[in-house]
């Protein structure tokens, strides 16, 4: 019976072919470690956010006089409203944690390198979309941090020469963040996740075209690949289980870990809280913004902090394949970069006083230095490694490449 139904569908829609192509016969390298779990994990969090978001939207009111109260209504009166809201609020942080680990893995193993440029770019686009959704969503509770965060970030556009002021008013629909801003942020916050879902499909199509990279950085012969299902479905699901244990520990036992106390005070446009901080996932970029002592350049620097990553596939000029596996300097610099991101995060969380200013500036220089020096460092590292003698698998790969090139 089931076979007949599947047969009926297959004549009209290639369901079996799709499952075969994307899962049961989709070839994956057999040596992926657990750092490769975070892509599918990000997908799980996206679904979690969309589902909880839809249910929250059934009770939330996007009106400056009602928004704060409606959140309290969700927390206190709606059945399990507290659970759904805490999942959504914690989910935002979880989303970034997962995405940042996913990106770090890409950097560590050089997964962004050709032929995966488009995969890398769609990933960065996804990061920007998620940031946009998170920023707009953060306004909705209409607390003090919501309000002043939106006020400050929309003001960034005021740095644009000539038309900046007009753009700020256009974004807000008001001269300050107000009711029109809240309503449009809600509309866009509901829309963007579906755009993200679409972009995820593009990301996956690109992935399934070029296939996953692997820790060695060397291509895997087709005969050695293994099917995605059941090997990586079982591995990914185990990862989801571990993730859910950590995630639910936050949701049920420390749900306020990611909610600033000030955001439990209704927005007051007449009074800025003494110490405004963005959510942790924006801190490194916020630190870059503050470290550059010029409004326009600061905004440009912050934007470049993400956009410049798109150039990495072309900046990395080493012929040694992959990332850290066979490249000790590349690996060392990766850890410098990650440590630097944490330093920037720490600086971003503290008032720009005393040593914080200098530390922030040094960290900003290191952040961009990592990227800008990549072409030189990668070339120099390659020649140094060649002088020392390459490991056999790498030499074999390079010889094959050279032979293929002369054909």
């Amino acid at each position: 019976m089931i076979n007949r139904i599947i047969g009926w569908v297959d004549q009209r829609f290639p369901i079996t072919a799709i499952i075969k192509h994307e899962a049961t016969e989709y070839p994956v390298a057999p040596n992926l470690n657990y750092w490769w779990n975070f892509g599918s994990l990000a997908g799980v969090v996206l679904v979690l956010q969309i589902v909880t978001g839809i249910f929250l939207a059934m009770h939330y009111k996007a009106d400056v006089t009602l928004a704060f109260d409606s959140i309290q209504h969700i927390m206190r009166s709606v059945n399990y409203g507290w659970l759904i809201r805490y999942i959504h609020a914690t989910g935002a942080s979880a989303f970034f944690a997962v995405i940042y680990i996913h990106i770090s893995r890409t950097l560590y193993y050089g997964s962004y390198r050709g032929p995966r440029e488009l995969l890398w770019w769609t990933g960065l686009l996804l990061l920007l979309l998620v940031m946009g959704a998170a920023f707009m969503g953060y306004l909705l509770p209409w607390g003090q941090m919501s309000f002043w965060g939106a006020q400050v970030i929309t003001n960034l556009f005021g740095a644009i020469p000539l038309v900046g002021g007009h753009i700020v008013v256009l974004l807000r629909g008001d001269f300050s963040v107000g009711d029109p801003t809240l309503t449009r942020f809600f509309a866009l916050h509901y829309l963007i996740p579906f755009i993200i879902a679409g972009a995820v499909v593009i990301h996956l199509v690109a992935l399934h075209t070029v296939k996953s990279s692997n820790p060695s950085g060397l291509p895997i012969a087709d005969k050695d690949n293994i099917p995605f299902h059941p090997y990586y479905t079982s591995k990914d699901l185990f990862g989801v289980g571990v993730f859910l244990i950590i995630f639910c520990s936050f949701v049920f036992f420390v749900p306020d870990a990611f909610i600033e106390p000030d955001n439990n005070i209704p927005a007051n446009p007449m009074q800025t809280p003494p110490h405004i901080v963005p959510e942790w996932y924006f801190l490194p970029f916020y630190a870059i913004l503050r470290s550059i002592p010029d409004k326009l350049l600061g905004v440009v620097g912050m934007g470049l902090g993400i956009v410049i990553l798109a150039a990495l596939p072309y900046l990395d000029r080493s012929k040694i394949p992959g990332g850290s596996r066979y490249r000790p300097i590349f690996k060392a610099l990766f850890f410098v970069f990650i440590a630097d991101a944490f330093v920037l995060g720490y600086v971003g969380a503290h008032p720009p006083e005393g040593p914080m200013v200098l530390i922030g500036r040094i960290a900003t220089v290191i952040y961009f230095g990592y990227i800008v020096s990549m072409p030189f460092v990668s070339k120099w590292e390659e020649s140094w490694l060649r002088k020392r003698g390459l490991p056999a698998p790498v030499q074999k790969y390079l010889d094959e490449q050279a032979a293929g090139g002369t054909k």
Binding site: T24, F55, S77, N79, Y80, D224, P227, P230
Partner: protein, 170 residues
């Protein structure tokens, strides 16, 4: 690529996988519960499930309408002869003695929502007439003619003293 068929034939699905699948499915079903529940009335809506109505201002022979859970409730102060006539009549196609519908013969309390498709019937001398599809109810709220299948609903209510009722709890 390694041959997937020999490695993963359906008959090698074992007890462990079935059990894991069952535990996982149970978890997903349980996780759906809070979401479904969140769509049910919230505690502040439920708190509004009770309406107190003062009977003193309703003159003999008149009907007042109060809101209960967002629905109209008709409170009729019936004249003795009307009440007696109702007690004598068995009702129409959904027969029910008036004694079971009215806690006190002079007071009839019914939900003013036609049992056909939910319109609010309008008051007539003989009872009610639904403006939508012409269902006719008598002075006990019982269906006499028209498409409505059942009598007007009697809500849960109880008397507090002689001239006050609480609708929504027995």
């Amino acid at each position: 690529m390694s041959d997937s068929k020999s490695l993963d034939s359906p008959d090698r699905r074992n007890f462990l996988e079935m059990a894991t699948g069952a535990v996982g499915a149970a978890g997903v079903a349980a996780a759906a519960w809070p979401f479904v529940q969140s769509m049910n009335p919230s505690s502040d809506v439920l708190a509004k499930g009770i309406t107190e109505a003062d009977l003193a201002p309703i003159p003999l022979g008149e009907s007042h309408t109060v809101a209960w859970q967002g629905k109209p409730v008709f409170i009729v102060h019936r004249k003795p002869e009307v009440a007696a006539a109702m007690q004598a009549s068995p009702g129409g196609k959904d027969p029910e003695p008036d004694q079971k519908r009215a806690k006190k013969p002079e007071w009839l309390v019914v939900v003013g929502v036609c049992t056909h498709l939910g319109c609010v019937p309008s008051r007539t001398e003989e009872g009610w007439l639904c403006p939508c599809h012409g269902s006719v109810y008598d002075n006990s709220g019982r269906i006499i003619q028209g498409p409505a299948p059942a009598n007007l609903e009697v809500p849960l209510y109880h008397f507090v003293g002689n001239d006050k009722i609480v609708i929504g709890e027995a």
